[in-house]
Symmetry: C2
């Protein structure tokens, strides 16, 4: 069999679970702090290489994550796992660094309209504020990842010029960030585009650790992951249970679902380093914690070889058939 | 840009919508006959090349489709569209032929357990019965397609030996059927397997019109479609609105969703011949007819460039930002 994207051939793919941040931040029901800690610990034991634990935003802005410090301080630190957190500004960076966060994940949008609507700043203002945070992080020797929103399209502007994406990648590369996440914030990415963008980014910044962050809003999440792998991508964000909807598409699926991605990639021969049954068992805890079902198809349907019993009366059906 | 599966380059993909059969057959709410006819007509106008209109099964077994004759007789016949129907036995074939069905779609499983559980016959008995139906169809000059269930796995047996698949393909090919649909009945197929099976089938029976029928039960539907296209597949079943669940996975998604597949393939540069807005408008009628939401992400989220307004107060947000 020739090696292609369809045959993982043991190649390693790294996943960062963002469910506790990108997912829980929009849940109405507060998940108790000890349950958040237990979820992070379970993800660590399941073999995730990176976990976005929380967000150091204002507790009044996102009350669902008002326990950021406690969660970050009390989780088990498993060797080899990176415990990252979203940090919106200098105040958040102070809190994150004090709480021993392994990596700060900064965020801004490459769409001016989306950045203004979400962060109430122009892109230039966001960049200046994040540059200050990067200086703080570097002084504290904490690595920085920057997540760029709307790389594959803005829900208000439409397609975003790639020049705006590359300009921001270059400016953050110049500041020495360790990684950049190219985010499909509202599920507008499609495989052809993904291949072009990821191939171009990797060619232009061969030393940069790029991560891809896809939403499954229009059913293309896994296809986009595969299109990115086909041009060499190795790191992806995904969300436990598929948590994390989209304010622009009520009822639509959110982030690509970690256990769906792991289930598919393992079947295809990729090495994710993840204990799938342990991951699924962790995702299965979510509905009780958040008060509703999760989008995960794997939580509902199980793995492909989770077999079902024959129907009641099967022996009699067979006997009658054979007697004809 | 090199041609690959990620770049359709205008290649044609034919879709058969199976929502009215595979979808409606398991709905509790009876869809009025005139609404079924209107749905088929809308699909014809949207550009589907094949539509599975109904099933000529016993009205007591599947009351949701008890109006098969009326629907098949009263739909508009658009030139170039094939109006097919599922036919389980000789009685169904008589009814279908009398109702001027363009093609009979016969079904049996390549898994002995699944065939017994679903059809209450051994595979040998099913084959003998279908051979008789094929003779009837040939006498009436009506083409036959055979849908083989569980090609990619059986929910009770697990993996099905490919020899059993090939044996059935060969036996039906020997009887002169026009096409064979390889069905992933319960969403067990994964892309690596799909590529291997489809490539092998096409190599061995180059003259056979193979169709692929995938379910999205475990989130791999679109990826499986792309894996099949990558080895030359050109025909797929899909279901309007993503209708059609799976009795083995309550709550899980059913067939791959026609408008999701068309949306993705068109973005990727494939030619489906389908008017996507007309297709989406047709899918949007379903919730009112069946009494619940449909799985379709496109019905919920719209197309990728269906833009959203800026939030209320956006001008003031911008003014405040620029004044800093």
């Amino acid at each position: 069999m020739t090696t292609s994207v369809w045959n993982g051939a043991g190649r390693r793919i790294e996943l960062c679970d963002v469910g506790l941040r990108d997912g829980l931040q929009m849940e109405a029901q507060f998940v108790p702090t000890e349950d958040k800690i237990a979820l992070v610990n379970a993800l660590s034991h399941a073999g995730l290489s990176k976990i976005e634990v929380t967000s150091f935003t204002s507790p009044t802005a996102i009350p669902a994550l008002r326990d950021a410090e406690v969660v970050m301080r009390e989780i088990e630190r498993r060797p080899g796992v990176t415990y990252t957190a979203l940090v919106p500004n200098a105040r958040g960076a102070e809190r994150a660094i004090e709480s021993r966060t392994d990596e700060l994940n900064l965020v801004m949008s490459v769409s001016e309209t989306h950045n203004l609507a979400n962060l109430r700043m122009t892109r230039a203002q966001s960049f200046a504020a994040l540059a200050q945070v990067i200086t703080m992080a570097q002084a504290a020797q904490v690595p920085v990842n920057v997540s760029l929103s709307c790389v594959f399209g803005c829900p208000m502007e439409g397609d975003v010029a790639l020049d705006a994406v590359w300009e921001h990648v270059q400016r953050f590369a110049d500041l020495g960030v360790a990684g950049i996440t190219l985010c499909d914030t509202t599920g507008m990415a499609f495989p052809t585009q993904v291949g072009q963008v990821v191939a171009a980014a990797r060619a232009r910044w061969p030393g940069m650790a790029f991560t891809l962050h896809f939403h499954n809003t229009r059913g293309m999440g896994l296809a986009n992951v595969l299109a990115a792998i086909d041009v060499g991508a190795q790191r992806f964000d995904a969300s436990l249970g598929g948590l994390g909807g989209c304010p622009y598409a009520p009822g639509a699926t959110g982030n690509v679902c970690t256990e769906e991605v792991v289930h598919a990639l393992q079947l295809m021969g990729y090495d994710t380093g993840i204990d799938l049954p342990a991951l699924i068992a962790t995702a299965a805890r979510l509905p009780a914690l958040i008060g509703h079902e999760v989008p995960s198809q794997i939580v509902k349907a199980g793995c492909r070889l989770d077999l079902h019993p024959v129907p009641a009366g099967f022996d009699a059906i067979r006997e009658r058939a054979l007697a004809r």
